[in-house]
């Protein structure tokens, strides 16, 4: 179990993470989702003691990271797949970790086989590895000590679809055996594929958390009308706010039946009317990532 309570870290005027609290439970894959620069990596570095927080506490299984003896045997960590000595072979990288943890060298071969870095690939120097191969090596390094907690920063980055599928079954099996898995990503669909629980972070703050089912299930209606402007106006008249949502459709926060009544009363023809499933999370995520883009649009509009 990973537990963060009120963790804050600032760099001068910049607040990297602000009052971050969440729990990653054993037996679950927790996805840590947010755009680049949202504070995911800083939070993860705080968890493993590489960055001291200004405020708040972080524990793993009830212990501070520094108090875990031989931590590689309990917590598997992959923070940056590129942070390996380019001049070492893949096998050598794992051998150094195995020696530190006091593991037999046979464990290195097991892990190389598990992540599919076999034969000549394991003998190549890391500088000749593709990003996907580095990720596999990093995952092997994290799993080496047979830990019960995994902390992986952007582990799917650089993996092809088959690789993502492989990782998904690997981590799922791992959680089913009682392990705690926390993985970060800046891609919603990636996390949706792998995680059970989601923690959304933006601008250093947790903006939503819960099970995937909870977060994907949102109230609201998607509606498409013959004349979208007229429908939007009619909805606005009765106090229902509608936002354009691609394909000429509109999204409201009210129930489909209410939208239907408004349309009927106004005599408008609808081509589609349904509950807006699964769109809430996506919109929230777009809101987090789209801030800068929207600002520039607004500025242009003002100037015009």
């Amino acid at each position: 179990m990973i537990k963060l309570e009120g963790v804050t870290k600032t760099y001068g005027d910049f607040t990297a993470v602000s009052d971050v609290s969440f729990v990653a439970q054993p037996g679950r894959v927790t996805g840590f989702l947010g755009p680049n620069g949202a504070g995911k990596s800083t939070s993860m570095r705080i968890m493993v003691g590489l960055t001291p927080p200004d405020r708040g506490t972080s524990t793993i299984g009830g212990l501070k990271y520094h108090d875990i003896p031989n931590p590689g045997r309990h917590v598997g960590v992959l923070l940056d797949a590129s942070a390996q000595h380019a001049g070492r072979t893949g096998r050598e990288v794992l051998t150094l970790s195995a020696l530190t943890m006091g593991l037999p060298v046979s464990r290195v071969e097991e892990m190389l086989t598990l992540v599919g870095l076999t034969g000549p690939e394991a003998k190549r120097r890391v500088r000749n590895y593709s990003l996907g191969m580095r990720q596999r090596l990093g995952i092997a390094n994290a799993l080496l000590g047979d830990p019960s907690v995994l902390i992986l920063d952007e582990p799917a980055n650089g993996l092809d679809p088959a690789g993502i599928h492989w990782m998904r079954s690997l981590l799922r099996g791992y959680a089913e055996r009682g392990g705690t898995v926390l993985l970060s990503s800046h891609l919603l669909h990636e996390v949706e594929m792998i995680a059970d629980e989601l923690v959304l972070i933006g601008h250093g703050r947790i903006v939503a958390q819960g099970t995937k089912a909870e977060l994907l299930q949102t109230a609201g209606t998607f509606v498409k009308a013959e004349y979208p402007d007229k429908l939007a106006a009619a909805l606005a008249e009765v106090g229902l706010k509608a936002l354009p949502s691609g394909d000429g459709g509109l999204r409201t926060e009210s129930e489909p039946i209410e939208v239907g009544r408004v349309a009927a009363a106004a005599g408008l023809v609808l081509s589609e009317l349904r509950p807006a499933e699964g769109a809430g999370l996506e919109e929230l995520f777009l809101e987090l990532t789209g801030d800068t883009a929207r600002e520039s649009v607004t500025v242009e509009g003002v100037q015009a």
């Binding site: 960055t51 942070a83 390996q84 006091g102």
Partner: protein, 260 residues
């Protein structure tokens, strides 16, 4: 899932896990010195250049100079230049290649890792010392006819060992201070040059040299015989300035540094 860490309400059971012993950390640090081309070649170069230097000195020097101590001083000069580079690389490769992130997550007590690096590089320094002494003894027999061992006392070995150790530690200190191979190596090589240029222009510096210049203070360590009290004081004061202070500042920096 390891049996030792089966989740019990999410708590880690660490009762059956022991800390990483220092011996294992030292083994790992020794291995890091030879498992990259750069590290391996520094070691090979130290060995080859030491023996090559002995042979050249043996062929070129006049007969009277071919004493054991002169051979040892010659090898010491060569090694004194290269051993600190080894110390520098052992620290800076972790930052240049960002492996410190992995090293310090596997052993979060950074002081222990630095201690292991000190022990490991002193061990390598000792091995280099043995190669130098062995090579010098062999050369004194081969080239000097075995007559060059007169006047040799135990303190001469101690002095020579001290030289090697101080070189290794100086390298580590510069590595910790700068955390960058190029800057640390250049500073280590250029500082003595800068000092000798300054003291050639400023006469007052010449008098102060034994107290502030490591090279000047350590010169008696190359020669035969015991050092006077003042000479030992020179060695200690310059070591404080050029080894202890950079080491302490560098250690403070590494213990506090945030790793990205």
């Amino acid at each position: 899932m390891s049996t030792a860490t089966v989740a019990n309400g999410g708590a880690l059971d660490v009762s059956r896990t022991s800390k990483v012993p220092m011996s294992r950390l030292i083994t790992v640090e020794l291995r890091k010195m030879v498992d990259t081309r750069a590290g391996l070649w520094v070691l090979i170069t130290i060995g080859v250049v030491t023996l090559l230097g002995v042979a050249i000195f043996g062929l070129a020097a006049s007969d009277g100079e071919k004493t054991f101590n002169n051979f040892m001083g010659f090898t010491g000069g060569i090694q004194g230049l290269l051993l600190p580079v080894l110390g520098i690389l052992l620290v800076t490769q972790e930052w240049g290649q960002r492996t410190a992130m992995v090293t310090f997550t596997l052993e979060p007590h950074r002081g222990k890792v630095i201690a292991a690096k000190i022990y490991a590089s002193l061990l390598i320094g000792f091995a280099a010392f043995l190669v130098a002494v062995g090579g010098a003894a062999l050369a004194a027999v081969v080239f000097g006819g075995g007559s060059g061992f007169d006047d040799l006392i135990a303190v001469d070995f101690l002095k020579f060992g001290l030289l090697q150790a101080s070189g290794v530690l100086q390298g580590l200190a510069y590595g910790l201070l700068f955390l960058n191979s190029a800057v640390a190596i250049v500073t280590y090589l250029v500082l003595p040059l800068v000092f000798s240029i300054i003291s050639s222009v400023v006469p007052a510096m010449q008098d102060a040299a034994p107290w502030v210049d490591l090279g000047t203070a350590q010169t008696p360590l190359f020669n035969l015989g015991a050092l006077s009290g003042e000479e030992w004081a020179h060695v200690l004061v310059t070591a404080l300035i050029w080894i202890v202070v950079p080491f302490v500042v560098g250690l403070w920096r590494v213990l506090r540094a945030e790793l990205k």
